[in-house]
């Protein structure tokens, strides 16, 4: 076999592997997609795979969600939006300021230890926190409030942001900041007018990653909230435990509404997100 033929064979096998794995990843999402257009009858006799061939798709699940029961679904949806955005914004401001400080100032030669101290939080199992959080927020009278989730999620995202952003700021040229300061700018101005805009790709990556983390979180939400402040994941599981019977088409429509925004954001910012994910992991 010539070198060229060998190379072509390798490329063909590579594409086969990639297409196969893409299909494995696609199938469950495809299934949720078509189920949201199914009727009860399409799910009670046999498995149906292809719309218009196996079954007649209908919009009733979507109508149910957006017309009949909009208010029922809107509360948890808004809880998720508010909790995710507020906690990620707080974490971004506090975490990236600390990351900047650790990149630019000297803390008695202990900068690396401080960063490691932040990261040690990732080693601790979530199970260790839920019991303490339950008692803490109960004592504070904050159970079943969005505030409790915002506090927990922002503190959960800060270490990762500090870690990634410190390296990001270290990669920026310090000369621009120096000349701005000679021109009379103070540190706060330098951080928000010069360093932050230059670090925008990194900030976007860590912001979206913490947004997704808060949006999808389940264990803490299950422990701290139960009625008023529930987020979408909790709302979904509660639908079934209440009725004992699952309306899969409605659940599928809700799933899509909750999944599509974050997946779209993540995939649109693929370059930064992959960078944030792998970089955040590799620097350890």
């Amino acid at each position: 076999m010539g070198l060229n033929a060998q190379k072509r064979l390798r490329t063909t096998i590579s594409y086969c592997i990639l297409v196969f794995w893409s299909f494995i990843l696609l199938f469950p999402m495809y299934w949720v997609g078509i189920t949201s257009f199914k009727n009860a009858i399409d799910m009670s006799i046999k498995a149906t795979y292809i719309p218009f061939v196996d079954f007649q798709p209908g919009l009733h699940a979507w109508r149910y969600l957006f017309v009949d029961r909009l208010t029922w679904f809107l509360d948890p949806f808004m809880n998720s939006v508010i909790v995710a955005f507020v906690s990620s914004t707080i974490a971004l401001v506090i975490g990236s300021s600390a990351g900047y400080a650790l990149a630019r100032f000297d803390y008695g030669g202990r900068n690396n230890s401080i960063v490691l101290g932040f990261m040690s939080q990732r080693m601790f199992p979530g199970a260790l926190f839920i019991l303490a959080f339950l008692v803490m927020f109960r004592e504070l009278g904050l159970l079943d409030t969005r505030l409790s989730l915002i506090i927990v999620y922002s503190s959960g995202a800060i270490p990762f942001i500090v870690w990634v952003m410190r390296d990001f700021f270290e990669g920026l040229p310090v000369e621009i900041e120096e000349s701005a300061m000679i021109d009379g700018a103070n540190r706060l101005g330098v951080l928000f007018r010069i360093a932050m805009p230059l670090a925008a790709p990194g900030l976007v990556a860590v912001f979206v990653l913490s947004l997704i983390g808060a949006w999808n979180e389940y264990l803490v939400a299950l422990t701290l909230t139960f009625r008023e402040a529930i987020t979408i994941p909790l709302f979904m599981t509660m639908q079934v435990s209440q009725t004992g019977y699952t309306e899969w088409w409605n659940m599928s429509a809700i799933s899509l509404v909750s999944v599509i925004p974050v997946v779209a954001a993540g995939m649109a910012l693929e370059k930064y997100i992959t960078g944030g994910l792998t970089f955040g992991a590799l620097k350890g």
């Binding site: 199970a127 019991l131 599928s252």
Partner: protein, 308 residues
Amino acid sequence: MATEPQIYPSKRFRFEIKDNLWKWIFLLPAVAIILILLAVPVVWTLYAAFTDLHLYRIGDFETEFVGLANFEKLMSNRSFWRTARNTVVFMLGVVPAQLIIGLTVALALNNITRGQKLFRTWFLMPLMVSPVVVSFIVGRMLFQEDIGPINDILRNLGFEGVPWLTSPTWAMVALMAIDVWQWSSFMILMLLAALQGVPPDLHEAARVDGANQLQSFWRITVPLIMPITMTALLIRIIDAFKVVEIIMVLTGGGPGQATESVTLAIYRTGVKGGDLAFGSSQAYFLLIVLMIFGGAYLVLTRRAMGKD
């Protein structure tokens, strides 16, 4: 520094005083938040593990120190060891599978140029999807025993339908499949980053020296991607030890206790059952296992790689 401008000495001095203030204003909020929300739970849970604290009795009864009683109870608690065993089995099932899939797909991705970005973007998708949706909605539909598509396809291929959620073994397999579906992408992207760091001329040089592709892979690629692979594996192992959400919503730990993980046991004991003391001792057990394991792993892999 010699290159620093010396034109405005007095002004520079003023900046430094201000900077000394900013230095703390920027750092302290983060430190304070992490100290309160990390250190307080860690210390409080340690305290609780040595008491008889119970959620429904807080404030009504004096909390008493019970010494090591909770840990003694833990050691002889069969149900807890069952969950420990389940967690280890889960980890041993998912991590090697993710490594093999991750390496295969990353090598394939590294092999192509056209469409690489497209595949990379698509492979990011499962990492963005909530575990509740993956496990609860997708998992329950796909693994339905009577009319779920997986059993339907198996039957059409001439196999028997599998009792996914009613058989202890198959329920575990279903959970593993969900975790592999979701987290293989992490391995793929990490290993792709590692492979892209291997200089191509090394392979070229090896080929000129008469090495075949397999030799070139084992002698050049594998050692060079080893550090990142080891880091990625450690992250996945620790995450697998902490598994809880997909189990809660797919099987609830069942049938029986066949798929209950340590973290699910802690939730059940401490949050649902209100036995904060016993739950805390379980949480500390998990933490200590993770720390010993993580520490040993780091020492051993560093030593092994130092020898290479």
